[in-house]
C-alpha cells in the first residue's frame, strides 16, 4: 500500500486491479498477513477504503474481506469493561445494551459517524485503522483509556489507543498484524459529554470534542479531554487536563481548560474549516461540554 496525491478524479469506478480473498477464519486471515504482509490488506465496511481506491490515493494489490469473520463481530463483557470486536459496526454500537450500560459515550460518537447507511456499513476497527484525525470513535476511546488488540501468527500485543496513531493515515499496526478488538474499561464517572462540530450530518467533522469528568466535593479530581481534527492524529489535551485537576469545578475552571486546549492543538486549514476557527471552537466547546458533563445528574 502507498499513499499519493489523487491522480484519478472519477468516483464512478475503481480503475486499479487487485486480488481478493475471503479468509474462512481469523487464523487464516493472520496466515495471509504473515505470508504477504501489507501486500494483503483487510477490507471491512469499505466506506473509507473504497473512496481512497477510487481516487487512486491508495494502491492495493490484494484485499481480504474480514466482515464475515465470527471472531471479530462481538461485544462482550470483561472484568474491566467491554471487549469490542473489530468489525462491530456503528449501528451495533448504537444498539448494544452493553455499550449503553458501560460506555454510552461510544454509542453517542457512533451516532455521529454519518447517517444510517454508513452506520450499517462502517466498523470500529476500520474507523481506527484508517488512521484519520477525524475518526469518530477515537476521541471517546482516548479519554476512556481504551486499548487495541493487535494479533499476528506470533501472538497478540496490547497497545494503548494513545500510542496507536502516529500521523495522518498512519498507525503502529505492523504488516503481519490485524487489529482484532478494542478493550474499553468502564469509566469511574458517569459525567461525560461529546460533540462533533460539522455543517451537516454526513460531513466529516471540523472538530470533535469528547470530555469526561470526576468530581469530589466540588473539586475536579480527574478529567479527560479528547479531540479530533485538530492535530495530525486524534489527541488528548493533556495540558488542559492537568491544569484543572484539583481545581474547583466551576465554569471559570472549565473556561481555563478550553483556553489551554486551544493553545496546545495544532490545527490546519482545509476544505472543511480553518485553523483559526478550529482553535476558537475548541476553546468554546471544551468549556461548554465540561459544563454539560458537570451538570449531568449522576
Amino acid at each position: 500500500m502507498e499513499y499519493k496525491l489523487a491522480s484519478n478524479t472519477t468516483t464512478r469506478v475503481i480503475s486499479q486491479e487487485f486480488d481478493y480473498s475471503v479468509p474462512a477464519s481469523l487464523e487464516e486471515a493472520l496466515e495471509l498477513r504473515d505470508e504477504h504482509g501489507d501486500d494483503v490488506r483487510p477490507l471491512a465496511g469499505g466506506t473509507d477504503l473504497l473512496i481512497q481506491l477510487k481516487a487512486d490515493v491508495r494502491t492495493e494489490s490484494h484485499l481480504m474481506y474480514v466482515n464475515g469473520l465470527d471472531e471479530l463481530d462481538d461485544v462482550s463483557e470483561t472484568e474491566e469493561g467491554l471487549e469490542i470486536g473489530a468489525t462491530v459496526t456503528y449501528d451495533d454500537l448504537m444498539n448494544s445494551s452493553l455499550v449503553d450500560q458501560h460506555v454510552p459515550i461510544l454509542a453517542e460518537a457512533a451516532s455521529d459517524a454519518g447517517g444510517v447507511q454508513v452506520e450499517k456499513m462502517g466498523t470500529i476497527g476500520g474507523n481506527l485503522c484508517n488512521g484519520s484525525p477525524a475518526a469518530s470513535t477515537a476521541p471517546p476511546l482516548l479519554i476512556l483509556g481504551a486499548e487495541v488488540v493487535l494479533e499476528s501468527v506470533d501472538g497478540e500485543r496490547i497497545v494503548p489507543i494513545e500510542e496507536f496513531f502516529t500521523g495522518p493515515k498512519r498507525t503502529v499496526l505492523e504488516p503481519n498484524e490485524l487489529l482484532t478488538s478494542v478493550r474499553v474499561p468502564t469509566p469511574a464517572s458517569d459525567r461525560w459529554a461529546h460533540e462533533e462540530i460539522k455543517r451537516v450530518t454526513e460531513d466529516l467533522a471540523k472538530v470533535i470534542v469528547s470530555v469526561s469528568l470526576e468530581c469530589d466535593d466540588g473539586t475536579v479530581t480527574d478529567c479527560g479531554i479528547g479531540l479530533g481534527c485538530v492535530a495530525p492524529t486524534p489527541i488528548r489535551a493533556t495540558e488542559a487536563e492537568a491544569a484543572i485537576r484539583g481545581e474547583p469545578a466551576t465554569e471559570e475552571t472549565f473556561a481555563r481548560a478550553g483556553e489551554i486546549a486551544s493553545d496546545e492543538i495544532s490545527p490546519i486549514s482545509d476544505s472543511r474549516s480553518t485553523a483559526e476557527y478550529r482553535r476558537l471552537i475548541t476553546e468554546t466547546k471544551v468549556r461548554d461540554l465540561l459544563v454539560d458533563a458537570h451538570e449531568t445528574n449522576v
Partner: protein
C-alpha cells in the same frame, strides 16, 4: 464462506462468479474484484433504479437494501455481496402496481427531478419496516443522509407520513 485465493488467469483478469438474489430473482454474475456493486446492478443486471451521483457516500442516491439493511452500493465491492439478498427500488412494485410508498411519493409530490427518489424510497421502506408509525423527527433523522438537490424535503417527509398512514400495520390499507 469458503476461503479462496484468486489467481490471475491466462486472460490477465481475475473474474469470478458470484450469486446475487435481487428482488427475489437469483443471478450468477461474473465480476472482477474491483467492480462496484452499484455498477454490477446497473450495467450487468439492467436495474437502473440505484443511481450514481457523488461516488463518495455523501448523496445516498445509490442506496439499496443488502440482507435487509440499507447500504451504499457505490461503496461496496460486488464480490463482498456474494450470496446476499438485495432489494432495489424495482423490487417494491408488483408489476405495474406501485408500492404504497411509491404511491405516496406520487400523491404528495415527493419527487421533482426524480434522481434521488430511488434512494429516498428505499430508505423510507427501511424506516417503515422497522418503525411503522414514525414521528416527523424520526423520519427526518432516518433520511438525514440522503440529499435532494431540488430541495423538496418537506414533500418527501409528507410522503413518508402518508405512506405510514396507508401501511397495513396502521390498518388503513385498501
Amino acid at each position: 464462506m469458503s476461503s479462496e485465493k484468486i489467481t490471475h488467469g491466462d486472460d490477465g483478469g481475475n473474474e469470478r462468479t458470484i450469486e446475487l438474489t435481487i428482488n427475489d430473482e437469483t443471478h450468477q454474475v461474473r465480476v472482477k474484484p474491483n467492480e462496484l456493486l452499484l455498477n454490477v446492478i446497473r450495467d450487468k443486471l439492467d436495474l437502473t433504479g440505484p443511481k450514481y451521483a457523488c461516488g463518495t457516500g455523501e448523496c445516498r442516491a445509490c442506496s439499496i437494501l443488502v440482507d435487509g439493511e440499507p447500504e451504499l452500493s457505490c461503496l461496496r465491492l460486488a464480490v463482498t455481496a456474494d450470496g446476499s439478498e438485495i432489494t432495489t427500488v424495482e423490487g417494491l412494485s408488483d408489476g405495474r402496481d406501485l408500492h404504497e410508498i411509491q404511491q405516496s411519493y406520487l400523491s404528495e409530490g415527493g419527487s421533482q427531478c426524480g434522481f434521488c427518489t430511488p434512494g429516498f424510497v428505499i430508505m423510507t421502506k427501511d424506516l417503515l419496516d422497522n418503525n411503522p408509525d414514525p414521528t416527523e423527527e424520526e423520519i427526518r433523522d432516518h433520511l438525514k443522509g440522503n440529499i435532494c438537490r431540488c430541495t423538496g424535503y418537506n414533500n418527501i417527509v409528507e410522503a413518508v407520513k402518508v405512506a405510514a398512514d396507508r401501511s397495513p400495520e396502521n390498518g388503513e390499507s385498501e
